[in-house]
Symmetry: D2
Subunit: 255 residues, 4 copies
């Protein structure tokens, strides 16, 4: 039709080949959202489990994702360098992943919060970033995991102080200018908390990769056999140091 | 930290000022989705109502949207030229709108399909397109509405033939090469259907704009008063010809 | 060959349709260049004439340019909205125009500076900017012409002071904080210069458009006839106010 | 001023960090240009020397270029991965390099063509391409050098046939469908030309890198001393195989 020319205004937004693609999404206004749903402070196990469930669903759907890393209200998905998903069109990739994640969040809410009605539909923003080298990608992930650690240490102290009776203002003042060791010490001496004993999910975030697993299935004759299959597995491990990357050479991110 | 440099790899994707921004989203694999949820063919009133509900929710949340147009599994949102939403950053705008829409879709599903469980979480893709002139914007919307008409006329014939006992292949063959008037004639003579009497929502799609309405509220003294407020209203009108645009001068899309 | 895949790394950088395209180029390090070639201060007629000659050559080559505006070491070229030059690919358009301009600058140097050898090859940078509306384009050109005026008024005062014996520092201090009327007054009272009587090229810059002219040619029978042809014409007029645009309706930039 | 808002329409076009940047320029309409200046066929030594001179001048000016490769009417400049030239703004980089090259071309024309007046100002287009890995960069350069070889072998045969009395059409037909070995054989048997003995510049193109050289200078006491300095050197070597890259480890393009 005579209107079809308007399609030409769509810009080609494809990302260049041979770069790692990182899609990071982040909850919109989750300060308010966590409040309205009375998330436990500083970490709500159910909320994080739900985030992980959504990330897993995204990975099951989008095969080119080799790793996902999540913490707080955010998740990063790593598409392999060679990915040709949607011809590497940025908006298609970002919108699809964000939409899938969001959809799963609402869909699975009731499983993780069986006795808390979802008050309003949450949303996430998303973006795509390209990283040319393995080193850049490792640094990206280190950046997010270091961020997780710093925020969590701070929040753990903050809420310990508040739960012990301080006002939020007083807690903030008490923590101003403190460094890591101060905070560890504070937790230890005032609250008898050994930070390193807190759940790894809170301290390190969540790492999803595909790992070969033995699946029990029936063969054509109806006999039980073991089949190797890649399944998405979740752990809460350090991804800053080399160990993880050496143990998972199939990720192809050695440096 | 030493990792923060990775933030510099994020590209500035902001759209230029003073253009109409169109965000179009479209259901991913809705052929299968509509099948799995036994949508009525060719149009499922509940499915379309749900789409409209989601679009309304998006408009209530994002104030810079002046109009939304939907049909089938797609929706287009028009942001006013002057919008500075997220500093006009493309990925933030697209991902947020797609996420909000998706979230509402799952959230409100049960209201529109009370006796049909959602089988799996649906998703939508999205994109942003810039249109410099009012004419371009009008042509964009005409393009979508003409598309609605063409598909709907075809689908109406197709399913009428199928419901009357033809196979899908036979129906396809019967329609090959026909023009509009042939199809109208076919509906009329074979099925006693006057196409123009079919619901406007099916033939024209749905148009959402903000209209001033009289809202009854209580004033400070507790007395009922009428307050004028802009509310999102849905209609199924022609937006190809001038009439609509003349009747809604506040949209600023006169040509 | 097996190497050809590298072509896929070229990004599509085409500009959207239906916007005014402005290509602005600017001399690289012309502070030094004007010094090394002893340009007259504040304005060197030969240097500006050479710039205008280059701009004319660009316009003769690139038909889609409807207007060019130049001042100091810069030139802006306006491509009509409908232009499909190089399929609107940004880098091709910018590089070609900058290259053509540069080439002409060196080529014609000796005509404008017959007794001054070109000391080293000058260069220019360039960029493309899109303007959606006529108003935006008018404002762009007003911005450049206002800039020309402000700089020229300042420079005229500055060099008058310096030529009268002040140091450059003293001149700078004398002008700090002055407004337009102060500077006009200074020129008038101290140097008996009426700013408005200075050459228009210095005060307004140069405007190139295509105008129909009567050209004398021979027809097929060898008889002299008058032929109407569009030729590039240079003037130094105000392009901020409406007058110019009303007098040149063929530019299609009325507002 | 109230016009300054127009600067916001300039888009940030910066290239992401940590990729090799390739700026390739190519003569505009050099088929005609070489004709009008009676370039020798298929290769004009003076024309190629002039191209190399311009490339050298660009490299002397732009320090981040580590290598340049030229053939026919084109040149590719490789900026090191870490380059922050113009904050990696694409249009600034491309336009500046193209402008510098063009300027030198016209400036030095008379040195290389002392008895041939430049008939009109030539121009070049340019583009920037990003390559993430060393391999990609190597493949890019191999692509250009393979292209040089293929074209040159063809052109050598073509012009040998034409110079021997064939029409251009006949020459074209004679070469249609031939492979490399056929062409080598043709040159050998019909024209007694051993292709491999032709000048390397024609067969391989030109490679410019910075190499440490011993420069004789005077020290503060006026005594002649040898100083090591990086100077741009030109050669016509194979850059497809590993040898060149192993011999020049300072380029940091090992694979
Ligand atoms: N109580 C609680 N809050 C959480 C948990 N996970 C995330 N949050 C909250 C804490 C923060 O206020 C918020 C995440 O910070 P953001 O910087 O993303 O802020 P927010 O989402 O409010 O704003 P944004 O729209 O992203 O700019 O989510 C949790 O497990 N428990
Ligand atoms: N039965 C039924 N189907 C509908 C209705 N609305 C949309 N659909 C189906 C018909 C089409 O198969 C599909 C929309 O066409 P699309 O071109 O968007 O295809 P689809 O979403 O399958 O693929 P995509 O992922 O968008 O490329 O949705 C409805 O009201 N009733
Ligand atoms: N004496 C003299 N100088 C002129 C004339 N036209 C331009 N110039 C000089 C004055 C300024 O120093 C310079 C233009 O200012 P720019 O802001 O473009 O600075 P410049 O080119 O040095 O640096 P850039 O590479 O553009 O950042 O050119 C002229 O007619 N006479
Ligand atoms: N006779 C002769 N011609 C040459 C020499 N070097 C380049 N050329 C000519 C041969 C080709 O016609 C032309 C280069 O081919 P291109 O594909 O770049 O074509 P051209 O520049 O005409 O068109 P373009 O504007 O780049 O699309 O330049 C030379 O050394 N001798
Ligand atoms: O959202 P923040 O503050 O964590 O930082 P950001 O995500 O980089 O900011 P934005 O969402 O505006 O891109
Ligand atoms: O999805 P289609 O086939 O209606 O057409 P499109 O949306 O323009 O195609 P794509 O989703 O690939 O951009
Ligand atoms: O060059 P300036 O300082 O006049 O300003 P600009 O041209 O906008 O700056 P840049 O050349 O860095 O884009
Ligand atoms: O100019 P060509 O034909 O060698 O090929 P290209 O340079 O890739 O084409 P374009 O100049 O149009 O980008
Ligand atoms: Mg954010
Ligand atoms: Mg958030
Ligand atoms: Mg967050
Ligand atoms: Mg689509
Ligand atoms: Mg769809
Ligand atoms: Mg659709
Ligand atoms: Mg500048
Ligand atoms: Mg300058
Ligand atoms: Mg300047
Ligand atoms: Mg080309
Ligand atoms: Mg060429
Ligand atoms: Mg060429």
């Amino acid at each position: 039709s005579k209107y079809e020319y308007v399609k030409q205004f769509e810009k080609d937004d494809s990302l260049i080949p041979n770069t790692w693609l990182v899609i990071r999404l982040d909850g919109h206004g989750f300060h308010k959202f966590s409040d309205r749903h009375q998330f436990e402070k500083p970490n709500d196990h159910r909320a994080l489990d739900l985030m992980n469930k959504c990330a897993e669903a995204v990975m099951i759907e989008i095969h080119d994702i080799i790793l996902a890393y999540g913490q707080s209200d955010e998740y990063s998905f790593i598409l392999k360098k060679e990915s040709n998903l949607f011809n590497r069109r940025s908006a298609k990739i970002v919108s699809t992943i964000v939409s899938l994640f969001t959809s799963n969040y609402v869909f699975h809410w009731k499983t993780y919060f069986p006795d808390k009605e979802l008050q309003y539909p949450p949303s996430f923003d998303g973006r795509a970033v390209q990283y040319p080298s393995n080193n850049n990608l490792r640094d990206y992930l280190s950046w997010r995991q270091a961020d997780c650690h710093i925020n969590n240490l701070y929040n753990t102290c903050f809420w310990a102080l508040v739960h012990s009776g301080k006002t939020e203002n007083e807690a903030e003042n008490a923590l101003r200018g403190t460094i890591s060791s101060d905070k560890n010490e504070l937790l230890h001496s005032s609250f008898d908390i050994n930070y390193n004993n807190l759940p790894e999910m809170y301290r390190k975030g969540s790492v999803l990769i595909r790992k070969e697993a033995n699946l029990m299935t029936l063969n054509q004759k109806g006999v039980e056999v073991i089949r190797k299959k890649k399944v998405v597995t979740t752990s809460h491990v350090d991804i800053i140091h080399d160990k993880f990357w050496k143990e998972n050479p199939e990720l192809n991110v050695s440096v």
